[in-house]
């Protein structure tokens, strides 16, 4: 009986030991994930944000913008089809999704919150400029987008009007400039692949960006739409000039992507043209012919000659044509310009030309030409001829940038014949992943439908 009692006690004790630990179902590896960290430092988030931003700015949207504006041409496989405006909502789903999810807005907001907590307004300011760059660009190519309700508790964010997004972006940039001017906090330092944490350069980029987004509404303002006043909170041209005055002051301060010769760090244009999709895309005939006719000094920096000559392909045509210059725009370690001194000067030039201040416009144009490698300055241009010259120069200067499309929508220079149909594409389709899960997103219509800031098709 003694033994029996002992054994029973032992059994109960064992049960007690087993049932004793209350936290058996929680602890490291149980309610945390050994495969994924549950928190990230600001530096790590910024790293993801800028890599995502570089891909957003210099990846597929930039390639589409350059194809559709005939600076490039789709000469094979899917790109040939896409160049003929035969696209679906699946074509844009990666970019549409990435601007919100990991590396996009959710992490940008994470930096802003973390920076605010730490009192590091430098970090907050830089994150706001990134947000403005990505969502201003998004509003320019998609028009109305989910923004005010994005990355919140709302499970199906509504579309904001394009003009409202622009207005919010301008406010955001003002806040960014104020944060950066406060000079509080260490910021990211060398982790910042664009400016190495230099606040002054970030302030300049923010101003050029403000000027860019004001210019996007000039066509709407000219057409008399009240939306322009919403987007610019005033006269778009005046505002653009004011912002550009504090914009990027020299080519050394350009906002560029960062690349090296290492795999996974190379210029996306190089990867696309030389590694991933060889033979699918080439120089566009419109740009090549224009540069040749003008004897543009950048021709061989842009394109690699085929058989001794740079050749451009007509839109969506399978033909032998130049690829990007191996030592120039197509080099694996070429840092793609995203916001530049050239753009800033050409904004000043265009804004002055549109307000009748031809002398100031010509000065700015010549500043841009000097930076672009041209020799002697131009003189004596006025009126419409001056505006056309500015727009033409900008078409060449904005090569590979998404702005080439925004500029062309406004200026219609040079004159381009659509690859198919009567009109050039007006905007991108919303991503299919977003539409599948968000009933606020309309089904894709025609690719030639236009945004509010671009009421008129090019003649």
């Amino acid at each position: 009986m003694q033994f029996r009692k002992m054994a029973s006690v032992c059994t109960l004790a064992l049960a007690g030991v087993l049932a004793g630990c209350d936290d058996f179902l929680s602890g490291p590896g149980l309610d945390t994930d050994p495969n994924r960290p549950t928190a990230a430092e600001l530096d790590q988030l910024l790293q993801a944000v800028q890599v995502t931003g570089f891909v957003f700015q210099t990846g597929d949207i930039a390639r589409m913008s350059n194809m559709w504006n005939q600076a490039m041409s789709g000469i094979g496989r899917q790109q040939q089809v896409r160049d003929a405006y035969d696209v679906t909502e699946d074509d844009f789903t990666f970019d549409f999704s990435r601007m919100y999810s990991g590396g996009g807005l959710i992490d940008i907001r994470g930096i802003q919150e973390g920076g605010t907590e730490l009192g590091d307004r430098t970090y907050v300011g830089i994150a706001k400029v990134w947000e403005a760059l990505i969502f201003g660009t998004a509003a320019s190519v998609w028009g109305d987008i989910p923004y005010s309700q994005a990355v919140s508790d709302v499970t199906q964010p509504e579309l904001d009007d394009q003009a409202a997004v622009y207005a919010a972006i301008q406010t955001l940039l003002d806040g960014a400039i104020a944060d950066l001017q406060a000079a509080a906090g260490e910021g990211p330092g060398d982790v910042d692949l664009v400016y190495g944490g230099d606040r002054a350069k970030w302030i300049q980029a923010a101003n050029t960006l403000k000027a860019r987004f004001y210019m996007h509404w000039v066509e709407s303002q000219v057409a008399g739409s009240p939306l322009a006043a919403t987007a610019c909170a005033g006269n778009c041209l005046t505002k653009a000039l004011a912002a550009a005055a504090n914009g990027i002051s020299s080519p050394a301060n350009d906002f560029k992507s960062f690349h090296t010769n290492t795999a996974g760090e190379q210029n996306l244009w190089y990867q696309f043209m030389n590694v991933a999709r060889v033979g699918d895309m080439a120089a566009g005939k419109a740009l090549v012919d224009l540069m040749k006719a003008r004897n543009d000094p950048r021709l061989l920096h842009y394109f690699e000659p085929v058989g001794g000559e740079v050749l451009g392909a007509p839109p969506a045509t399978e033909t032998a044509a130049s690829k990007l210059a191996d030592d120039g725009r197509g080099a694996p370690d070429f840092d793609q310009p995203i916001i530049t001194y050239l753009e800033n000067q050409l904004i000043i030039a265009e804004a002055h030309a549109r307000t009748g201040n031809d002398a100031a416009a010509l000065t700015a144009l010549n500043n841009a030409r000097t930076a672009g490698g041209w020799g002697a300055p131009l003189a004596g241009l006025t009126g419409a001829a001056l505006l056309t010259e500015i727009a033409t120069e900008k078409y060449v200067a904005m090569f590979q940038n998404i702005e080439i499309w925004n500029d062309h929508k406004r200026n219609c220079t040079p004159s381009l014949t659509p690859a198919t149909g009567a009109q050039l594409p007006g905007r991108l389709f919303y991503g299919s992943d977003e539409r599948n899960a968000n009933p606020n997103i309309p089904a894709p219509g025609s690719i030639t439908e236009r945004n509010d800031n671009d009421p008129n098709p090019c003649p």
Binding site: F3, R4, S8, T11, L14, A15, L18, F24, L25, S26, G29, L30, D31, D33, N35, R36, P37, T38, E41, D43, Q44, L45, L46, Q47, A48, V51, T52, F54, V55, G59, D60, F94, F96, S97, Y100, S101, G102, G103, I106, G110, I145, P146, V151, Q156, P157, L193, F258, A263, G264, E265, Q271, F272, V275, A276, R277, G431, D433, N436, A437, N438
Partner: protein
């Protein structure tokens, strides 16, 4: 041979040992056990419970039971009982005297229904079959070893109703999938270690074990955890030696499996291993030798050569050239040979009244059917199970098994380096020999696919598994009405894999190395108490209460190296770039359970049970879940006066719930290292510039994640007729699964893209019938026949907001509302019965009055593609059946067979589709022939070209007439089969003759598995599935073929 001799020596030595133990004056009981017809019955347990001694009969039915002198009182009367599954138990009183010998013979009646047999019902509880309120299928040891196959899952095929077993392929060591009462979950493709494969829980001796199939996340298989490419992998239950298994119980429905809670919705396979019996030492040795070969071919053409447009051209990849004038090659036959199997199993068991043991060793060497010695699976197992009664009522036991697997597989599937993908696409006029030219360079017909002999001889896919599993238990019976048990279970396995594609392979010409280590560790503690109390003779009760705690740990280390620096050295150090892909998971669970049983007047049996589970993977919002069950069985024959014909009748009904646990870490948000791709394979790593980045994972943690829950009702009747010479069991069940987990897309503007959500609903309902007959039961001639039949109707009732969810695979395998899980979605021709709203008016008008399966044919005679994607196939069978029969002559010859029948169940013959395109399929031999669509397909046609013939040419087969066109429906074939799954002829050497060799029994067996398959399927055996145990079924795309085997075995028992 050396092993064999060593085992024989061991056998003789150990068999001689017991003689020296007993030297006092014991009492001896001897006798013989025969069945109703007088034939001897072996393996009958003869026991004197009061004295705790027992033994089993040998092949001639004889037994000898020695009662130690210390336990014998002169003139003592005790009850001696003879029992065996399948026979009616019998007890007799005998009187013992020290030094005296008693003879007691038994003649036992047949018990077809096996009412007396104990059935394990889970958590250490057993119940006699007559009292069960749920349907539990049992498979006995002798039915698991009749034919040679090392995967216990394969051995269950056709042996119980309601289960569907599909072997991945005939490769030695290939996995096998078992689906019980239909699919109740929708796979989560690409989710590592998810429990949504639909496979049941495997429990060995009360301890849950790992039956996962771990797929390498390598680039060769698209980085996804599916088996579309790469080499086959094993399901880990195949590590069990089938010879160690005493019995298997299959808990099919939620009502039976509820006691296993959140891991039991897909059913539970309870495996009980063999134990030693007190009494004389038994040693047995079985040696098996056999051969296997491919059982069905893919037909190929040998008329037209390498080229295109009827013109020879050696540069291309296809066989649309001119008629061949020179030699042609058999590109199917050249790849295969007769494989061989050698299997040796040795066991030693015995013990005395306080200690019993079972020791076994097994070794299998299987060299498969692909030419050469690179497809092999060698398995070595050892097990020691022993128990000792430390003091009265206190028993300790241990059960330890070790398995070592050394295997080598051949690349398969959608894989440029796979065996059949390149092999069957080879033009008939291209000689695949030699695969290396004089300079040692890889010789292929088009420079795109590996030469199949390169794939066999140079590519490698190796697996080295070490696994130890078992348990230690303490069993304490302080009073005869109370029993306490504590079991500590451990299961540890390590699988080291190497995938090598050496220099010159054509998937990664610079060379590829995938190295993986899969570590799986499970530790479980189980504490149960069982208390019985007879309130009166007519009212008996028992109560079981238990607590269990489980720790499961999985670690995957995977590194992929690309670009070998030096040839022939397959280490990661010798590669240019390396990409790691680790995954780790920890799951803890803690459960309480209780079960109460009430027997009223020995005819009404009521059971109620409940389990409460807490898992670390459940969301905090609901950290614990309940799983109740009730069942009732009423033995009508005790009360009602039934016709004399009916000797037993029982009705039963049950209701229960069981769960399927959610994937690990599905409740958590996280950050990931990132690689940002523009969509065209140009990308930037988040380590750009040398600083590491972290991005928010696109998967949003689900705050309400819970297990999938199945609620099931079943009811049935069990009848026995003609003094138990016939029995019939019928069961109906209806199971509704709620909260099935889907990976739901989120609006990307929320900052996330995906979230696990308990949203889908699936219903399974069906009928199961078993029928057993023993029409002839004479002394020298016994014929028994039995069968099972079942049908399951599976339907996805809801998927939340969406109409279908893609599950991966080739032909748009999906869950579609209103259809069974895993249907195939693709395009079809415009078919009159299935025109959608978008069908053009001319098609609609042409279809007026036409049969539903009529195809709309355009003016050129060709059928017109309907752009609407719809359900075109269903891999779930309409019904399945197993028929087994045995004939026993003169008590020593037995012929037994098992037919496996599957009716319905589509298989996508992607292999044929691709070979149509390549022009190597036999069907493409008709090229150039002109005929109408109706003549080609046998389908009725409508439309302007219904009677217009067109030329079946290269353009047609490379377009919509082939597998790379959009019309996938034409390659969906009926996968029905009738298969001679098992056949065996046993001969038992007469006992006297055996004794002359010092053996109690010698048996010789000829056996075959899958010897014959009858099917209309045009490709390899329709029992095939490229994706193993995943929920994707019916995928045939250059999968390695199925095999049949023939074996001879000799068994010696002493």
């Amino acid at each position: 041979m050396r092993t064999y001799r060593w085992l024989l020596a061991a056998l003789v030595a150990v068999a001689a040992a017991p003689a020296t133990v007993l030297a006092q004056e014991p009492a001896t009981v001897t006798g013989r056990v025969t069945n109703a017809s007088g034939a001897p019955e072996n393996a009958v347990l003869v026991r004197i419970n009061a004295l705790n001694v027992g033994t089993t009969t040998s092949a001639d039915g004889s037994y000898r039971l020695v009662v130690p002198a210390s336990r014998v009182r002169a003139g003592q009367t005790v009850q001696i009982t003879a029992t065996r599954v399948g026979l009616q138990a019998q007890s007799r009183n005998i009187t013992l005297n020290p030094g005296a010998s008693v003879t007691q013979n038994f003649q036992l009646g047949t018990d077809v229904l096996e009412l007396e047999g104990l059935v394990a019902t889970g958590v250490g509880v057993s119940e006699t079959r007559e009292r069960l309120g749920v349907s539990i299928s049992s498979v006995k040891a002798e039915d698991l070893t009749r034919v040679q196959n090392q995967n216990v899952v394969n051995l269950l095929a056709a042996k119980a109703p309601g289960i569907e077993v599909t072997s991945t392929s005939g490769d030695p060591g290939a996995s096998a999938s078992i689906t019980i009462r239909g699919v109740k979950t929708i796979g989560l493709s690409g989710f590592p270690n998810a429990q949504q494969s639909g496979q049941p829980l495997f429990v060995v001796d009360g301890v849950a074990i790992n039956n996962s199939e771990s797929v390498m996340p390598s680039s060769v298989q698209y980085g996804e955890e599916t088996d579309l490419a790469g080499a086959i992998t094993a399901n880990r239950a195949s590590d069990i030696n089938p010879d160690d298994i005493a019995s298997i119980e299959i808990l099919k429905g939620a009502a039976a499996s509820a006691i296993y809670g959140a891991r039991a919705a897909n059913g539970v396979v309870l495996i009980t291993t063999k134990s030693g019996q007190a009494g004389q030492t038994r040693a047995s040795l079985r040696a098996t030798f056999g051969w296997d070969e491919v059982n069905k071919d893919v037909p190929l053409q040998r008329t037209f050569g390498h080229g295109t447009g009827g013109v020879n051209n050696k540069a291309g990849l296809r066989s649309w050239g001119a008629p061949i004038s020179g030699p042609t090659y058999d590109h199917w036959g050249e790849l295969f040979e007769t494989g061989n199997i050698a299997d040796l199993d040795f066991s030693l068991s015995g013990g005395n009244e306080r200690t019993t043991y079972y020791l076994s060793m097994g070794r299998t060497d299987h060299n498969g059917t692909i030419v050469g010695d690179h497809d092999f699976y060698d398995k070595t197992t050892a097990r020691l199970k022993a128990s000792h009664e430390v003091a009265s009522g206190l028993k300790v036991s241990g059960n330890f098994a070790y398995t070592d697997v050394d295997a080598s597989f051949i690349q398969k599937g959608s894989n440029l380096s796979g065996l059949l993908l390149g092999g069957l696409r080879t033009p008939p006029d291209f000689n695949n020999h030699p695969y290396l030219d004089e300079d040692g360079n890889h010789r292929t017909f088009g420079g795109v696919f590996d030469n199949p002999f390169f794939s066999i001889n140079e590519n490698q896919a190796l697996s080295q598994v070490g696994r130890s599993f078992g348990n230690v238990a303490v069993d304490y019976t302080p009073w005869d009405w109370a029993r306490l048990n504590y079991t500590l279970g451990v299961d540890y396995s390590n699988d080291n894999r190497d995938d090598v594609l050496p220099l010159q392979n054509l998937t990664f010409p610079e060379g590829y190395l995938g190295k993986a280590q899969f570590l799986n560790k499970q530790i479980s503690h189980n504490l149960t108490g069982t208390f019985t109390r007879d309130l009166s003779d007519a009212l008996r009760t028992s109560l079981t209460a238990g607590y269990s705690r489980e720790i499961r740990r999985f670690d995957r280390f995977f590194v992929e190296g690309q670009g070998f620096i030096a040839p022939g050295v397959f280490t990661l150090n010798n590669t240019v770039t390396r990409t790691p892909n680790e995954f780790h998971s920890r799951i803890h669970s803690e459960s309480y359970f209780g079960q109460a049983q009430v027997d009223v007047a020995d005819q009404l049996f009521l059971t109620a049970a409940v389990r409460n589970d807490g898992f670390s993977t459940f969301a905090q919002s609901e950290p614990r879940h309940w799983y109740p069950k009730f069942s009732a069985a009423w033995e009508l024959s005790e009360t009602l006066s039934l016709p004399e014909l009916v000797s037993f009748a029982k009705v039963r009904a049950a209701w229960g719930q069981a769960g399927n646990e959610p994937p690990v870490y599905g409740t958590l948000d996280g950050f990931t290292a990132c690689q940002v791709d523009s969509g065209w394979n140009d990308f930037l790593n988040c380590t750009l510039g040398g600083s590491g980045g972290l991005a928010r994972d696109v998967l949003k943690g689900q705050d309400d994640l819970k297990p999938e829950r199945t609620r099931e009702v079943e009811a049935g009747i069990d009848l026995a007729f003609l003094e138990s010479r016939a029995s019939l069991g019928v069961t109906f069940y209806n199971a509704q699964t709620d909260d099935a987990i889907l990976l739901t897309p989120l609006a990307t503007s929320t900052g996330y893209q995906l979230q696990l959500t308990n949203i889908a609903e699936i219903r399974n309902r069906g009928w199961e019938v078993t029928l057993d007959l023993r029409p002839l039961d004479r002394r020298n001639f016994v014929w028994s026949i039995g069968g099972n039949w079942s049908t399951n109707d599976n339907e996805v009732l809801s998927l939340g907001d969406v109409d279908f969810v893609d599950m991966g695979g080739f032909i748009g395998t999906a869950a579609v509302v209103g259809h069974p899980v895993g249907v195939m979605r693709s395009n079809d021709w415009y078919r009159c019965g299935q025109l959608g709203e978008g069908a053009p008016d001319n098609v609609v008008s042409a279809c007026a009055g036409a049969p539903a399966d009529a195809v709309y044919v355009g003016a050129n005679g060709q059928p017109v593609l309907d752009p609407e994607v719809r359900v075109v196939g269903d891999p779930s069978p309409d019904w399945t059946a197993g028929i087994r029969s045995s004939l026993r002559l003169f008590n020593n010859i037995e012929l037994s067979g098992l037919l496996d029948i599957k009716q319905g169940g589509d298989v996508w013959n992607g292999t044929a589709g691709a070979l149509y395109n390549y022009g190597t399929h036999k069907d493409t031999e008709i090229r150039g022939t002109s005929m109408t669509w109706s003549q080609w397909s046998g389908e009725p046609t409508v439309g302007p070209g219904a009677t217009t013939a067109f030329v079946f040419d290269e353009a047609w087969f490379r377009g919509n007439g082939g597998g790379f066109g959009s019309q996938g429906k034409q390659f969906v074939e009926d996968g029905s089969y009738v298969k001679l799954r098992e056949i065996a002829l046993d001969y038992t050497v007469p006992a006297g003759y055996a004794r002359r060799f010092g053996m109690s029994s010698i048996g010789i067996r000829l056996a075959g598995r899958n010897l014959k398959t009858w099917t209309d399927y045009s490709g390899i055996d329709p029992e095939t599935n490229l994706t193993g145990t995943s929920p994707l079924r019916g995928q045939d795309y250059f999968n390695n073929p199925q095999a049949r085997n023939f074996t001879i075995s000799v068994s010696l028992t002493r």
